[in-house]
């Protein structure tokens, strides 16, 4: 199991009342499995993705990432785990506007202190972006931007890929292509994937779909 969440709850204090964003959720994602999380706005799916991505710590419950309980780690160690074990694909790609496509990957390699950077060119070729290596993000199409974001998520060879509404800014055709790419990479490279989405037309590309409603999980 790449990621295991056991009875995870998240409470927010809203004035005198407390609000339960997640209510005792348990979930596992296997190697090579691509899970989709759907649900209405405010249902808690972003909160869940953030907890899975070690961006947020749960109020109760345990999160095991690659066999390690991340609750026991310092914030520095958690940053290091995010760098090495998790690849993120955000809404609207969120590429750094002043970095050329290749540098988007280089910066992650530098953060991870990788000396060998051959994978940058290889990944760009793999995603058909080699001719775009020296372009800035604003010169790319929406689909190209998301492909760069996927390449960036894969550059450190992480165990877990998390995608937050990756199709949000794309038309249905491009959106489907992006999710297809994600699904293929997760399968062929033996990663685990979790995607939060509104887009029901791409759910057939996922191995499993769970729904969150009011902080509770419905399979």
């Amino acid at each position: 199991m790449t990621i295991v969440m056991e009875n995870v709850s998240k409470l927010y204090q809203d004035g005198p009342k407390s609000f339960k964003a997640l209510d005792s959720i348990s979930l596992e994602v296997k190697k090579g499995e691509f899970l989709a999380i759907i649900g209405p706005s405010g249902s808690g799916k972003s909160t869940m993705l953030s907890i899975a991505g070690a961006l947020l710590s749960p109020t109760n419950g345990t999160v095991w990432l690659d066999g390690e309980n991340i609750a026991n780690l310092s914030s520095k160690q958690i940053t290091a785990r995010r760098l090495k074990k998790i690849g993120f694909v955000f809404q609207a790609a969120n590429l750094i506007p002043y970095l050329k496509v290749k540098d988007q990957l280089t910066v992650i390699n530098m953060l991870a202190k990788h000396k060998d950077r051959a994978n940058e060119g290889a990944l760009l070729r793999h995603f058909g972006l080699a001719h775009r290596a020296t372009n800035y993000p604003n010169e790319l199409s929406g689909g190209e931007r998301q492909r760069v974001a996927i390449a960036r998520a894969l550059i450190n060879d992480p165990k877990l890929i998390l995608a937050d509404e990756p199709t949000a800014s794309l038309d249905s055709k491009r959106g489907r292509e992006v999710v297809e790419t994600l699904a293929n990479e997760i399968k062929s490279r033996g990663k685990s994937g979790i995607m939060v989405t509104h887009d029901e037309r791409v759910l057939d590309l996922c191995d499993r779909v769970v729904t969150i409603r009011d902080g509770r999980l419905e399979e």
Binding site: L56, T79, F90, N94, I96, V107, I108, N156
Partner: protein, 355 residues
């Protein structure tokens, strides 16, 4: 620095604008410093360049040399104190001299001392004084057309011959100084001494309370208007440093606000806060060094076209010190943005989460 350099290269205009402001402020700092140094030298270089350790004045004079009255006996007593290597008298007379008995008049400050005095400056043109009616003059008098061999006449009775020009600048109270041998005159203004530094306290005790024993730097305060001149210019310089800090603080604060999302994403992707902070400081340092460099060039250019009479003095030491200070102030200015970067939560990369 990876991010810092790429961002500067990508957003050239934005950073060029702030750079332009920093260049202007830095130039202004250099120019006002040059003016302060120039005025200081014009007012007091004759005192600053005295080859002595301490100056003794009558306590009642409150460091104003022309008001201090000391008798020659006191000079003899001071020169006998253990640890005093040499003692010479110094008297200052502000006079108006007519040149070669013509209509040309120049204000001069007569620095009267003994013929073998350590106060007499090295000569760069002409020869040292040998007789009582010979003087060494400040080189600014050369600009007024005075040459070696010219005579300076003071009123009816006294005629002095210029025999040499001093090596270093010799100005007092914005007036050219001429050094003259005063013989054994009864009343003098000040006693100057060279001492064995390890025995300064003993010497102070021996000198007693009727004299103020001060360093050359302290003696400057007694020159009329010296402190006021320097204080007003120094206040401008301090304000410019404060302005530099605030301009940079405001600029980088706004830029950092705009980049919140990017910092959130980078942190989520695994960038440590220290890495992001290093990049910001790197940017500030790069911009500052570049701007200071341009400002130095600009200032030297301006200095080259200033008229020679203008009291303006740039020293390598002073410029290096000022440059380092501007750099430090710039980094302090970026501090507000550093706090912001530290505070940004990586969860901001996920829309709608955490709230």
């Amino acid at each position: 620095m990876f991010l810092a350099i790429r961002e500067l290269a990508h957003a050239k205009i934005r950073y060029a604008l702030i750079g332009f402001i920093i260049v202007l402020i830095a130039s202004l700092i250099f120019i006002i410093s040059g003016l302060a140094k120039g005025l200081s030298a014009d007012n007091a270089s004759a005192i600053q360049n005295l080859q002595v350790d301490y100056v003794l004045m009558d306590t009642d004079a409150e460091l104003e040399m022309t008001k201090s009255i000391i008798s020659r006996e006191d000079l003899d007593k001071v020169s006998q104190i253990d640890g005093v290597a040499q003692a010479n008298s110094l008297s200052v007379r502000m006079m108006n001299a007519s040149i070669n008995d013509t209509d040309q008049n120049e204000d001069v400050a007569l620095f009267v001392t003994e013929s073998d005095s350590m106060l007499l400056p090295p000569v760069r043109e002409g020869k040292p004084i040998a007789q009582e009616n010979e003087v060494i003059a400040d080189r600014t008098l050369q600009r007024e057309g005075i040459e070696v061999g010219d005579t300076l006449t003071f009123g009816e009775q006294r005629e002095l011959t210029v025999v040499g020009f001093a090596e270093d600048s010799q100005r007092y109270s914005h007036t050219s100084v001429v050094f003259v041998d005063g013989g054994e005159s009864e009343h003098i203004n000040a006693i100057t001494i060279r001492v064995d530094e390890s025995r300064v306290d003993e010497i102070r005790n021996a000198v007693g309370n009727s004299f103020d024993m001060v360093t050359r730097e302290e003696a400057l305060k007694g020159i009329p208007s010296y402190s006021q001149e320097q204080a007003s210019l120094n206040m401008m310089i301090v304000l410019l440093f404060v302005i530099t800090a605030f301009v940079l603080a405001a600029f980088f604060y706004v830029i950092t606000l705009q980049k919140r999302d990017q910092f959130g994403v980078l942190k989520a992707l695994g960038a440590k806060t220290t890495y992001l902070v290093q990049n910001l400081v790197g940017q500030v340092v790069l911009i500052s060094i570049l701007c200071i460099g341009i400002a130095v060039g600009l200032t030297l250019g301006i200095a080259a076209i200033l008229p020679e009479e203008m009291p303006f003095l740039l020293t390598a030491d002073g410029m290096i010190q000022t440059s380092i200070l501007i750099l430090i102030v710039s980094v302090i200015g970026a501090f507000l943005s550093l706090i912001q970067i530290v505070k940004i939560d990586p969860i901001e990369a996920i829309e709608g989460a955490g709230k």
